[in-house]
């Protein structure tokens, strides 16, 4: 501890990264400050003993402070190797890695790791220790007093959405999803600025995975950690990453940009192929409904005439209409429901999908398709905002 890097901190990293130079050109008009970069890989390569080709060859990459960067690529692309070089579970063959401006090799490996949270697919909870003891691992290592550790454990159990009484249980008593929540809590325990996550949600079922992803994003909104996340799942990368680094076999960086940029403009054929043929659909998941114009939709006020309802359905080409009183959605009805009625009633069937302004266009498309119709209703809380239709969405796909 306490050994200083062999250069003034403000000069590291010495080489201006592509990201920094891009930033300095675009908008701000000044050089990006060094402290904006939390982790910097400079010409890093790794060849394993006995290996002929390098697992990672000459990789340079900057991870901005407070962002989630996802390393994604096929097997053998060196994404996990790259991640493990950051906390020195694997030592690079050549090149330098800076964490928070300091050369990673300037401190002893185990001391470096205590300042970097680490979450892995196998979770790796200590089966012989309670949940509380597991979470307390790093605080105990760095010598916090008991009182502070106990408070922190309680705080973290709540933060990751576990019940307080789980503190005294053992890992074997928890489900896979709960165990990985403990894994995340344990990694966050000593409040490290950096979190490394190696396919952390790879071993849980898709529903739990989706929930854990959502929770990670919510957590990140509050904590603003610098997270390097490894996955082979491009959808997970797009969902979680502020930036996505697409790696090819041998640790070749094919593209490093925001998910929207990558989906809109894949750098080359490899990236395009890796993104898959449903690239347009994937892009939709990044566009919130609030960015497109909504249509008033086939709506009729309660007390309106049957004739009026028929005209509305004809105009929109639907076999249903919505009953809306001001901005209150009362439900939807079909022509059959009007048989024998003189006016439109003050009721209707509930919409199955409640889209909000922050829902993505992909969710909207899903709601429309699964409702076997051409449009879906969008709400702001209880307030009805309008309808989004297939045409609007398909315009966004081709854009």
């Amino acid at each position: 501890m306490g050994s200083r890097p062999p250069y003034p901190r403000s000069f590291a990293p010495a080489v201006l990264s592509p990201l920094q130079s891009l930033r300095s050109l675009g908008g701000t008009g000044r050089l990006a400050r060094v402290s904006d970069v939390m982790i910097s890989l400079r010409h890093v390569s790794k060849t394993f003993p006995g290996g002929t080709a390098p697992a990672v060859g000459d990789l340079s990459l900057d991870v901005p402070r407070g962002e989630i960067v996802v390393l994604v690529g096929p097997s053998g692309c060196g994404k996990t190797t790259t991640l493990k070089m950051i906390n020195r579970l694997i030592e690079p063959t050549s090149g330098e890695i800076y964490v928070d401006g300091e050369l990673a090799t300037s401190v002893e490996a185990h001391l470096l790791r205590r300042k970097i949270g680490y979450v892995i697919q196998q979770i790796g909870l200590f089966p012989h220790r309670t949940i509380a003891e597991n979470i307390a691992t790093v605080p105990t290592l760095v010598g916090w007093d008991e009182q502070r550790i106990a408070e922190r454990v309680t705080e973290l159990i709540e933060l990751v959405g576990l019940e307080p009484e789980m503190a005294d249980r053992y890992p074997a008593e928890l489900s896979g999803g709960q165990q990985q929540r403990v894994g995340v809590a344990r990694a966050l325990a000593a409040d490290p600025p950096v979190l490394l996550m190696d396919e952390p949600f790879g071993a849980v079922d898709p529903i739990v995975r989706s929930k854990l992803q959502e929770e990670l994003l919510a957590l990140q909104d509050r904590l603003r950690k610098t997270i390097v996340f490894v996955t082979h799942d491009i959808d997970e990368a797009i969902r979680l990453g502020n930036r996505v680094a697409i790696l090819n076999v041998g640790g070749v960086l094919e593209q490093y940009a925001s998910p929207a940029e990558i989906l809109a403009e894949p750098a080359n054929d490899f990236v395009a192929e890796f993104l898959g043929s449903d690239r347009g659909l994937k892009r939709l998941s990044l566009i919130p409904i609030s960015t497109v114009d909504l249509d008033p939709g086939p709506v009729v006020a309660p007390g309106g005439t049957v004739e009026e309802a028929r005209r509305v359905m004809e105009r929109y080409g639907t076999d249903w209409f919505a009953v809306v009183d001001g901005d209150r959605m009362l439900g939807w009805l079909t022509e059959d429901d009007l048989r024998g009625a003189a006016t439109v009633p003050r009721s209707g069937r509930r919409f199955r999908a409640w889209l909000t302004r922050s829902s993505s266009l992909r969710e909207a498309l899903d709601a429309i398709v699964s409702g076997r119709t051409t449009m879906a209703a969008v709400f702001d809380g209880d307030r009805y905002l309008g309808m989004i239709d297939v045409d609007t969405i398909s315009r966004e796909i081709v854009r």
Partner: protein, 238 residues
Amino acid sequence: MSFLADVLAWFADPVNWSGSGGIPNRVFEHVQLSTFAMMIAALLGIIPAVILGHARRGGVLAVAAVNIARAVPSFAIIALALPVSIALGLGLGFWPTLLALVALAIPPMFTNAYTAVRDVDPGVVEAARGMGMTPAGILAKVEVPMALPIILAAVRVSAVQVVATATLGAIVAWGGLGRYVIDGFATRNNVEVFAGGLLVALLAVATEVGFGVLERLVEPRGLRMLRGQEQVVRPAPT
């Protein structure tokens, strides 16, 4: 029936319960020698095994240890230990028996301790390293506690074997319960042979039960749950 009555009479004879040739002293000698042998063997067997298991090196050694243990009969070990003991100037009786018992007890403890530590879930070890535990910390706080149930089971197996084999010490002029068996043979006193054998058997069973209880007491609670869970069929995460 009269044989069993004779055995009962032997046990009832107060002569057999007092003095240096009495049951209490023979049991004491037997336990004393077995305990020494186990303590030395545990030190020599478990410590290197745990360190090699931590390094995940020395698998060949572990396999060789098992094979040797299987190949060489206990009697042969005593026979081999005797000239070694005499050459070292330790003489007859206690030392050659101790030497033989230590040699007998090491292989199962070494092999099991080695594999138990080596086979600790690599995900757990990687998490421990990733959080910044030192190699010694990982060994002491993660690998050994997780391997403990298997190590203790190996200690139990070795201990029972040692208690049973310590009987042979009487051949090289050591005391212990083997005296009854050897002396009984020499004087053609089948009752004494049987009584001695019975006492050894009882002591071996007591050893087995005692270590079994110890294992239950020492096994970390979380591990016991893990074991209970493994009996339930559960698909391994891919």
